[in-house]
């Protein structure tokens, strides 16, 4: 088979449906990455326009441009959209588009999940846009502090749009994070050991793990606040045993890691692009990986620096102040490693390099003001002033927007296959750079002169008029610059000047393919021997196209790739991907119906939507089943690999491990909340304690002991092709027993809408119940698969997946039941 015929055969197998219909059924990572990025930039424009309205309002004193009600919506939506609908999805889009190409494989681990995540993002974002168009957008500031955001002080639907819409969007962040983690660990080219991974993949891995552990506290907070608003269970009301500080802890436990979740992928772009612009290799690869990991750990230990003015004892603040300054160390390791890289090479001033310089100047200032606000006494003065607003824009614009623009100019030839023809970019950069610094340098100063953030207007005698006008003029220069960047990108995407393959002479694998990329990425998969395969072998792309790598012969019309051992990169299993399907968009639409029913309080619709999601999920797992055993597959170079279904550790198992990691963080945050309210909140002890019941605990713990055991018996039996139905039946009964114990506890919780104690017990019980139902459902589907002949010793990968969920259920239910009943048994 020659290269052209191989290209045609693979394109037939991997192509999306033609035209716009393809958008709705595609599961291809290149398509979805582009869709993520275009949507994210649409939201960037929307939110940028909101920023312009803010600056127009503040340009002059006593401005009557927008009244406070509208102005509060504008700044709340500006922050919310930038954080949740621009920054995170941009990372997702970059990672989804780039990772399989950089890692030398054909798609991400779970193609349908990528599509599901995208549609949850698109629908959730649309919900928030609609609220804005109707003038009922969230208006309590992007961090939504109760009691202001509670039912008493914000009775309208505005806050519900935020809590429900953002939670819907977060599904896409969690989905993408699971996807990215498993893809990086398992879906790489043969021979790509962890230390040969492109540096961007390391950053993406760290970021994805941070999303899995950083977002659940926010999701928990949103759930609790929405439950309080909708059903009156008090978690944040001080007079009913709640505490508004709990929200601040949960929010910033998410909110600070979030800053690094935004910065790390951008740093990954710098670490990838900068060495290419300097014609050298990155200085200190290992040190940079270590710095990124250190940043991730440290970033979870400094959320309290957003709460320096809440009255926490000074010694407590000292600890978080130290952690906040310490985080500057791994950051500076990266900065100086990059500067050292520039010293080792010969930097050339191409477009990406201009934006990298913009990054250096801006981000270093942002980092230095960050150290300033980490000083507790200084923060007491500038907290909640324009100084902090200026600082965070230096960090986020410098640490995210400039690197992303560098990345766009760097990878644009890859996406479009074209060469830059119009030269607007250089001029646009000057406007963006100048406009940004004029706007936000001024804002530091006016903050020191006492201007609070979020005020709708001010008086001439405050003495801020001239500075604000300068700042507003700067912001319009910035906006014109960004509009020109957009124009530059669009013009250069549509002008037909074909570009070369690998125009930058880069060494990473994403350039070892034709541009724009074919839907299958690589006609055959490379054997990787070092970090920059293309630098060692400039003809690699041609050799792969000629079929000199793995999986060179397309067969059976199926989308194939292989997985590797996590550490060594040795190939271990053969994987067949699902093809184009509308299942993801339908499922996310039904998921949206669930959220909509909560938003509009159409509670009769909620169970119907949930049943719909469950039915579609069953179809989802059913669709990949086979009725016959696949033999080991010849992948070329004399290597035969068993199918991934014939293992206990398939992609589904890995995905569940990381999804459960996020879930465990959610549960851990819930337990933290319980302990926090118990020990810190005013209004404790509660008027009535929970009455413990030996019977309920007995039933629950018996289920928790039996379920995992029965599942282990089933996993062993299926390996021998023995009968598994009895063991599955027993574990189903165990899940039901746990469900009954949790439901009883939930129903007997004392006075759930009268005190936070009963409210928290209700939520804990509901958590156990939901997981029991989920586990029972999984076992039921597994049983149906067994009866339908879809399982065997060589098609057994679903068993360990269900086993994980049962283990998780048993562990959490034990903790829940003990937390509720044990205090009552103690003297």
């Amino acid at each position: 088979m020659n290269a052209l015929r191989r290209h045609r055969a693979l394109s037939r197998i991997w192509a999306s449906e033609p035209g716009f219909r393809g958008w709705f059924s595609t599961v291809n990572h290149t398509d979805l990455g582009r869709m993520f990025l275009v949507t994210a930039f649409f939201f960037f424009v929307v939110s940028g326009l909101l920023a312009m309205l803010i600056r127009a309002q503040l340009a002059t004193p006593h401005s009557a441009f927008a009244g406070p009600e509208i102005y509060n919506q504008i700044f709340t939506m500006h922050g919310t959209i930038m954080m949740f609908l621009f920054a995170i999805p941009t990372f997702e889009g970059l990672a989804v588009y780039l990772l399989p190409k950089m890692l030398g494989t054909r798609d991400l681990a779970f193609p349908r999940l990528t599509a599901y995540g995208y549609w949850c993002y698109a629908f959730g974002g649309t919900m928030l846009l609609v609220s804005m168009l109707l003038g009922i957008a969230p208006d309590s500031g992007w961090f939504m502090y109760p009691p202001l955001s509670g039912a008493i002080h914000s009775p309208g639907i505005n806050t519900d749009f935020w809590l429900i819409g953002i939670t819907f969007v977060e599904i896409s962040a969690i989905a993408a994070a699971v996807e990215i983690t498993v893809s990086i660990l398992k879906f790489r080219a043969p021979g790509m050991s962890l230390d040969r991974m492109p540096i961007f993949a390391w950053y993406a891995l760290v970021t994805a793990l941070m999303i899995l552990t950083g977002f659940p506290p926010l999701i928990l907070g949103s759930v609790l606040l929405e439950v309080e608003r909708a059903f009156g269970l008090p978690f944040f009301q001080a007079e009913l045993g709640g505490d508004s500080l709990l929200w601040q802890h949960l929010f910033w436990l998410f909110g600070h890691p979030e800053v690094y979740i935004i910065f790390l992928p951008a740093a990954g772009v710098i670490s990838t692009v900068l060495p290419v612009m300097c014609r050298t290799a990155l200085l200190g690869y290992g040190w940079i990986v270590a710095a990124a990991v250190a940043l991730a750990f440290l970033s979870f230990g400094l959320w309290v620096h957003h709460m320096f003015t809440t009255g926490i004892p000074h010694m407590g603040l000292a600890f978080f102040s130290a952690a906040s300054t310490l985080v500057a160390v791994p950051t500076s390791v990266q900065i100086f490693a990059w500067i050292g890289t520039m010293w080792r090479g010969r930097p050339e001033l191409h477009m990406p390099m201009l934006h990298i310089i913009g990054f250096f100047v801006t981000f270093v200032i942002g980092g230095l003001t960050g150290v300033m606000v980490a000083m507790v006494p200084f923060d007491w003065q500038v907290h909640d002033t324009a100084f902090v607003t200026a600082h965070l824009h230096y960090v986020l614009f410098g640490g995210f927007v400039f690197p992303v623009l560098a990345g766009i100019y760097y990878w644009l030839p890859h996406v479009t296959g074209r060469k830059r023809f119009f030269r607007l970019g250089e001029f646009a950069f000057v406007l963006v750079f100048t406009g940004f610094h004029v706007t936000f340098l001024a804002m530091h100063w006016v903050g020191l002169l006492g201007q609070r953030r979020r005020i709708p207007t001010y008086a001439p005698e405050d003495g801020w008029t001239a500075i604000n006008l300068v700042s507003s003029v700067g912001s319009f220069v910035l906006a014109i610059g960004l509009a020109m960047v957009l124009l530059d990108i669009i013009l250069n995407s549509v002008t037909a000047v074909r570009g070369r393959r690998d125009p930058w002479k880069a060494g990473t694998l994403e350039w070892a393919m034709m541009v724009p990329p074919p839907p299958y990425n690589f006609a055959s998969l490379p054997q990787v021997t070092d970090r920059e395969p293309l630098a060692r072998d400039p003809d690699l792309a041609l050799r792969l196209a000629r079929g000199e790598g793995y999986l060179d012969s397309p067969r059976q019309g199926c989308r194939e790739t292989l997985t590797v051992d996590v550490a060594s990169g040795r190939p271990d299993f053969h994987v067949t991907y699902p093809s184009n399907t509308r299942l993801p968009i339908v499922m996310s639409a039904v998921t949206g119906l669930f959220f909509l029913s909560l938003l509009l309080k159409l509670y009769w619709l909620t169970p119907l939507a949930l049943a719909g999601v469950a039915a579609l999920a069953c179809r989802w797992v059913w669709a990949l089943g086979r009725r016959d055993d696949l033999p080991a597959q010849d992948v070329g170079h004399g290597l035969e690999l068993p199918p991934a279904a014939a293992t206990d550790r398939g992609p589904g198992w890995w995905g569940s491990v990381f999804l459960l990691t996020a879930n465990a963080t959610f549960f851990g945050s819930l337990l933290f909340g319980f302990a926090f309210l118990w020990t810190v909140a005013p209004g404790w002890p509660p008027p009535a304690w929970f009455t413990p019941s030996g019977l309920e605990v007995g039933i629950g713990l018996a289920g928790a002991a039996t379920g995992p055991l029965a599942m282990r018996v089933a996993i062993r039996a299926v390996r021998r092709d023995a009968n598994v139905l009895a063991a599955l039946g027993l574990s189903f009964a165990a899940a039901c027993a746990i469900g009954i114990a949790c439901a009883a506890m939930m129903l007997r919780a004392p006075d759930p809408d009268g005190h936070a104690y009963g409210a928290t017990l209700t939520v804990l019980g509901a958590y156990g119940l939901v997981h029991a139902v989920l586990a029972a459902l999984m076992i039921a589907v597994l049983t149906a698969k067994v009866r339908g002949g879809l399982t065997s010793a060589r098609r057994r990968a679903d068993f360990p997946v269900a086993g994980l969920w049962i283990d998780y259920l048993a562990a959490t239910a034990t903790l829940i039941l003990l937390a509720a009943h044990l205090p009552g048994f103690l003297p």
Partner: protein, 220 residues
């Protein structure tokens, strides 16, 4: 009066200016700010020079090991650790000094935030309540006991001290002090919904005689 001139020249003056302090706490923090600004400017200049030089020089690359020793370990690790340790110690010492500690001179007042405005009461004059104006003696440390009647607010008089939140169900105590008699503007500094922009108050600092007269119930 050299400082005053400098402050005027730099445009620091203002009724709400953090860098135009009128009390010991605000002065300590203003000094901290100038130290931080000077240090940050030096470090920024250093990094910018290091970033610019590679565009000008044209000698060959050094070894990887040498590069890591200089850039990663020297400038990346050791340099920030030394600077940050010193800063942290300085910040903590100032923070400790600003805490409310018991003393004979200390006066206590109470501030209650609400979306309708601030209310102030005085344990030393049980029947006095003032709204939107807080009375304190000048030249004596004052502990403000901060609570709220509805949502979260923050009590902030920029020229006297930093801010502290008023949180439902919690009581926070902020130490402020004015050097001299006069009026100082104060702000509610945590977003509290519509009307937030207008949530302001003033602090009137009396001389000793004026304070005695205020406590005795003379009209303001």
């Amino acid at each position: 009066m050299g400082t005053t001139t400098l402050v005027t020249l730099a445009g620091c003056e203002g009724a709400l200016s953090v860098v135009d302090p009128a009390g010991p706490a605000a002065r300590e923090i203003a000094t901290l700010w100038w130290v931080l600004l000077a240090g940050a400017t030096l470090i920024f200049a250093l990094v910018m020079v290091l970033t610019a030089l590679p565009f000008l020089r044209r000698d060959g690359p050094g070894s990887e090991r040498h590069g890591i020793r200089t850039w990663v370990i020297g400038l990346g690790l050791a340099f920030p650790m030394a600077v940050l340790a010193a800063l942290l110690a300085y910040g903590l010492v100032i923070g400790e000094r600003l805490l409310p500690r018991a003393g004979d001179e200390v006066v206590e007042v109470a501030a209650t935030g609400s979306r309708d405005g601030w209310l102030f009461t005085y344990p030393d004059a049980a029947d006095r309540t003032t709204s939107a104006v807080l009375h304190i003696p000048a030249g004596r440390p004052v502990d403000v006991v901060i609570t709220t009647g509805d949502v979260i607010h923050a009590f902030w008089v920029p020229r006297l001290a930093g801010k502290l939140d008023a949180i439902p169900g919690h009581v926070n105590i902020l130490r402020i002090e004015a050097d001299a008699p006069g009026t100082y503007r104060g702000l509610s500094a945590e977003f509290s919904g519509a009307g937030y922009g207008d949530l302001t108050f003033t602090v009137t600092a009396h001389d000793a005689a004026g304070w005695t007269a205020f406590l005795a119930g003379e009209p303001e």
